[in-house]
Amino acid sequence: MSTDGALDFLRFANIQKSYDQKTMVVKDFSLDVAKGEFLTLLGPSGSGKTTVLMMMAGFESVTHGEILLDGHPITRTAPYKRNIGMVFQNYALFPHMSIAENLAYPLKVRKLAKADIAQKVEKFLQLIELEDFAGRMPAQLSGGQRQRVALARALIFSPSLVLMDEPLGALDKKLREQMQLEIMRLHKKLGFTVIYVTHDQTEALTMSDRIAVFNDGVVQQCAAPEVLYEQPANAFVADFIGENNFVPGKIVGLDEGMVRIEIAGGEEIIAMHSDCDVIGTKCRVSIRPEKMFILPSEHTFANKITVKFLARLYVGDYIRYFFELPDKTEVVVKVLNDHEAPKFGEGDEAHLISRRKDCFAFAVT
């Protein structure tokens, strides 16, 4: 993270948004973003993440609360006076202007001298490696090229903050990966602050300094990608980010910040507790498929569960095993494809093991 500036460069103070004065689309959103940070708002559609972005840009009004940029409230500032760059999902290039004219537009609006504009446009065309395309019209460019132009156009007037609204949503997978690298490269080089909205978790995990996971108008967790993936704060985050098994059980004991959970079949799992630690309550234990291992033979380890083999799915670089607990809960295990990958017949008994710190107990709601 290149956060050499203020830690509260962008501040959301108790932001609320309602379109009909009854239902809240965004409920009490508060967050500080550091200068130069790459923050991603991640969530399913309708979770409120785009609304937050639109309020930041000024295209939606804020029902309650205050947005502060560099210490100044911008909640009541007109969008065109905010000096915030924006990249749109559908590129939003002006179709009647050439690439060079598109890039020059924000500079022309700011009444820069002609020579300065030409120089800057040239520099940014080089930066996105489209020097030969200056005179082309947007319709003559491919999707990836268009988005690079849109990116350059949002950066050319050196805004300190750039908003990106699912900028790679319209591109195919391979181009998306290229553009991810491109955005990260520009971010590193120019040092602007990014608020990035996406519903693609892979994109969020690979690009962000921090991710705020949205659901139902509330931030469920805001943390670095590793923390989000390895220490989810609640069941929604555990389920939304990556893949997870949820094993139902009952808390039977507490020790040293961990909880002991009895699951169907009578075996016990020791897990980190997140949001439940009352003996006797029902809970679910989340364990990632790649954090469970198949034991070659029966041993008496802690955190061992006995399951029945259902099926095996050959994916290529790994193999997915489907098991079943006595209460019919399905458990998926991902095993790297090497020569040791075990073989089972249908209905065979198998033994799985996992580390305590990879198991998380969540309250059943």
């Binding site: 915030i84 002006f94 924000p106 319709a139 908003l163």
Partner: protein, 285 residues
């Protein structure tokens, strides 16, 4: 001979021929009354029929005397001038107001869209005799009856619905994020409108302006009610010409109007295509 698929019965084939010839017949009845005017306007005799000489292509049977009559008659010249002046100003007023109305009506924040839209389109739907009578009584109160300003306002009101319809149609395909993009780059809403929105909806504005002009140009009912002797327009002059001095002068004027209309359509179609190209909708490289 037309080729039919092998499974066609005699009824299928008859149907196809019936459709084909009906279409030709409709086209014939639409075009002939217009086309026939052109040679008749060169008639050397004061009749509305083809003379023997004309049919045998005798040069002496043709003349341009009715064109001379138009050019030398101050009534006709005044009518032509009035038509263009009123048409020009009515078009400008209708285009500006209609475009503004369409932009406002396509905003997501506009309340009562449907009601307002219906009200503004009403001059097009209400029978023109009612509009004309209403305007006559209303405009008289303000001293606007029998004045150029009154006619321009009346014709602008008749032209606005066409502009609203064509501009609304182009705006419905307009990507709102382009407007947002303009704002995010620091351009004020007004500057964004002129730099980004206007160039992209121009084809709709041009078509609307064309309809507004033609509406004013061939409007006769409102003119009959509102115009004083000084504001006679071409349709009004033709109308009285038909009753008073029936001779091919009218045909000469009609021919001139046909030529003007065709030239007008071609120019506007050219303009429309050009701005369509500028929208970047077509590849051209």
């Amino acid at each position: 001979m037309q080729k039919f698929p092998a499974y066609y019965t005699i009824w299928h084939k008859l149907g196809v021929y019936a459709l084909k010839y009906t279409a030709w017949l409709v086209l014939f009845f639409l075009i002939v009354p217009i086309v026939v005017i052109i040679p008749l306007s060169f008639n050397a005799e004061p009749y509305f029929t083809f003379t023997r000489g004309m049919v045998t292509l005798d040069p002496a049977a043709y003349s341009t005397r009715w064109y001379d009559a138009v050019v030398t008659n101050p009534n006709w010249m005044l009518a032509i001038k009035n038509s263009f002046i009123i048409g020009f100003f009515a078009t400008i007023v209708a285009t500006v107001l209609g475009t503004l109305a369409a932009v406002g009506l396509s905003s997501q924040y506009m309340p009562y869209k449907r009601v307002i839209m219906a009200l503004m389109l009403s001059p097009m739907i209400v029978p023109s005799i009612i509009v004309a009578a209403g305007m006559f009584f209303f405009f008289t109160k303000f001293g606007l009856a029998g004045s150029f300003v009154g006619l321009v306002i009346a014709h602008a009101a008749l032209g606005v619905p066409f502009v609203i319809i064509t501009v609304t149609a182009t705006l419905s395909g307009f990507d709102r994020s382009l407007y947002h993009a303009g704002l995010s780059m620091g351009a004020s809403p007004l500057k964004t409108f002129f730099d980004v929105v206007m160039p992209l909806i121009r084809p709709g504005v041009i078509s609307g302006a064309m309809f507004a002009f033609v509406t004013s140009f061939d409007e006769v009912v409102v003119v009959l009610f509102l115009a004083g002797p000084g504001q006679r327009t071409i349709p009004r002059q033709m109308f009285s010409g038909l009753r008073e001095q029936i001779n091919p002068t009218i045909l000469a004027v009609a021919t001139l109007l046909i030529l003007v209309s065709v030239a007008f359509l071609i120019t506007l179609e050219f303009l429309r295509r050009r701005s369509e190209r500028l929208r970047g909708l077509e590849d051209h490289g």
